[in-house]
Subunit: 166 residues, 2 copies
């Protein structure tokens, strides 16, 4: 299997997977392309490879920069902007986790907590408060589990480094 072929397949795969998890398909594809490119790419190169418009590249790349998954990078002697992706996958995972935590989990937790102030006189509130509380606990634990995993990976990676240095 030729590299370019494999890369395009990976881009498709990552795009589909992303959209199943609520991430814009094109944004995931741009990310996949940059993740698997050794060199920094220009807007025109991204347009060309993915067959999307200039506006589309601009919007999606900028969003990836907001997520802290992609950086701008200048090439000497060229005044275009070039883009590179963070290549360390554990770092990528950490940043995605962090961003979703901030954007989605925290507001969710806040709302759930507020909903527990339901009129206790109503007999239906009993099950309701339990359910909402259980979801709160579940989401909280999933959050901290993924935190733990990220930290664990950090240590494992660090461990690998140390082993290499010895």
């Amino acid at each position: 299997m030729k590299f370019t072929e494999a890369q395009l397949e990976f881009i498709q795969l990552w795009g589909n997977f992303g959209s199943q998890w609520g991430i814009n398909k094109t944004m995931a594809q741009v990310h996949a392309l940059l993740l698997t490119s050794d060199e920094a790419l220009s807007t025109d190169e991204i347009m060309e490879t993915l067959g999307i418009s200039r506006g589309g590249v601009n919007t999606n790349v900028r969003e990836l920069i907001v997520w802290n998954l992609v950086y701008k990078s200048a090439k000497p002697g060229d005044r275009k902007e070039f883009f590179v992706a963070e290549k360390d996958i554990w770092e990528v995972a950490k940043r995605i986790t962090r961003e979703r935590q901030r954007r989605e989990i925290e507001p969710l937790m806040h709302h759930l907590n507020r909903l527990k102030n339901v009129d206790e006189a109503d007999p239906q509130s009993l099950n309701f408060v339990k359910t909402v509380g259980d979801i709160e606990r579940l989401v909280g634990r999933m959050s901290s589990a993924s935190d733990t995993l990220m930290k664990l990976e950090e240590n494992t990676f660090f461990g690998t480094l140390i082993r290499k240095w010895k």
Copy 2:
């Protein structure tokens, strides 16, 4: 805050959260409604509360049954079908995890693995194989972390039961 008000707010919240994570909004809403209802509900009651069509209720309830989150339930003296949700949130989480594992993670892992058969002669393949391999490892570990969490919860729950019995 009145119960009904809180329940409707929860339904909205869960619907929005679901759609941010790739789950059909209406399906999440039906789920939220059943989760927070003490009694089993008929198609007409769901239509009424959520303001959606008969076809919509039918499709979404059936999908929830496939996910093993909702059961049919008969009421004596009534020939309509009624629906109840599984109320144990850890069980719910386990079943959603199981289903997404089967539908999304497994195929993803399979494809990623296949992509590692890229022509090694191409110098770009080096980074590519590393990236794909790292993603494989990451996804694998996240999977087993969530497994572990579910099992842990099972034990915690069991522990609570035991404590109560003593």
